[in-house]
């Protein structure tokens, strides 16, 4: 059974994703991507992952995409147009490949939906989460009890990002 909201959002996401890939200018790609992420946040919300949905909207659609758009403007790239050559054998091959990957994965997922020996579900049903104070509380609880090493490590990643900006984007000091 498919929830209609999910279905609609899924269709929207799919369309926007296609737009991202195939639209003419980078800026419209970027905007399609932002829209898609927002729609995706909707899906997350519907799925009960409220914290992630918020994060998706704030970090992705907010921060990251602003960075993208900013870069596009900065590097003055918007005058460059979509360069996909649809007649090219590479394009055909790429589409075929993508289609086969999609088909393969979908086949696997569909087959999976009828898998009898799947893993036993955990205890964190939506009700249970609601009972302990909602999704944000639950996720943070899980994160900081079980996954704090990862959390710490992410900070290192961000440090590398800073270093990279220092190294690459900084104007040369003469």
């Amino acid at each position: 059974m498919v929830e209609p909201v999910v279905l609609i959002l899924a269709i929207v996401v799919a369309l926007l994703a296609a737009l991202t890939v195939f639209s003419r200018s980078p800026i419209s790609s970027a905007f399609s991507l932002v829209m898609m992420m927002v729609a995706l946040a909707g899906i997350y919300g519907v799925s009960g992952a409220h914290f992630i949905a918020a994060l998706q909207a704030i970090v992705y659609a907010g921060a990251i995409m602003v960075l993208f758009v900013f870069s596009i403007m900065l590097l003055n790239m918007n005058d460059e147009h979509n360069e996909i050559r649809f007649r090219s054998w590479k394009t055909v091959l790429a589409c075929l490949g993508a289609a086969s990957v999609l088909a393969g994965l979908s086949y696997a997922f569909i087959q999976w939906s009828s898998e009898a020996n799947g893993p036993t579900p955990g205890i964190m049903t939506l009700e249970q989460i609601r009972s302990i104070g909602g999704n944000v509380v639950a996720v943070s609880g899980a994160m900081f009890s079980q996954a704090y090493v990862q959390f710490e490590f992410i900070s290192l990643l961000l440090l590398v990002a800073i270093a990279s900006a220092l190294v690459l984007a900084k104007r040369k000091v003469d």
Partner: protein, 100 residues
């Protein structure tokens, strides 16, 4: 077919679209977006699986992945700027000096 499966297929679709962007587009920034698409596919997959499995673990991972995606795009954009400085363009067909 339930909504979980639909979402899985959607994630597979996003994943393929990301790949397609990487292959078809010559504009590096759009290629970066392709990578973001793929990471989003992963996120969707994690969230959906987390719901199916009634676990929180998946959602926790999504948090990390989003952060990594941020860091990655930061690095990616610095690389882009570096390329732009060297070549005056970020289209892949203009940024080739490496040929065998």
């Amino acid at each position: 077919m339930n909504s979980g499966t639909i979402l899985h297929i959607l994630s597979a679709y996003l994943f393929s679209m990301g790949l397609l962007a990487l292959i078809l587009r010559r504009n590096t920034i759009v290629m970066l977006m392709g990578i973001e698409l793929m990471l989003n596919a992963v996120n969707l997959s994690f969230v959906t699986f987390a719901r199916e499995l009634s676990q929180l673990n998946g959602q926790v991972q999504v948090f990390f992945i989003i952060t990594i995606a941020a860091a990655e795009s930061a690095v990616g954009l610095s690389i882009l700027i570096n390329v732009y400085r060297n070549f005056g363009s970020i289209k892949t067909d203009r940024t080739t000096v490496l040929r065998s």
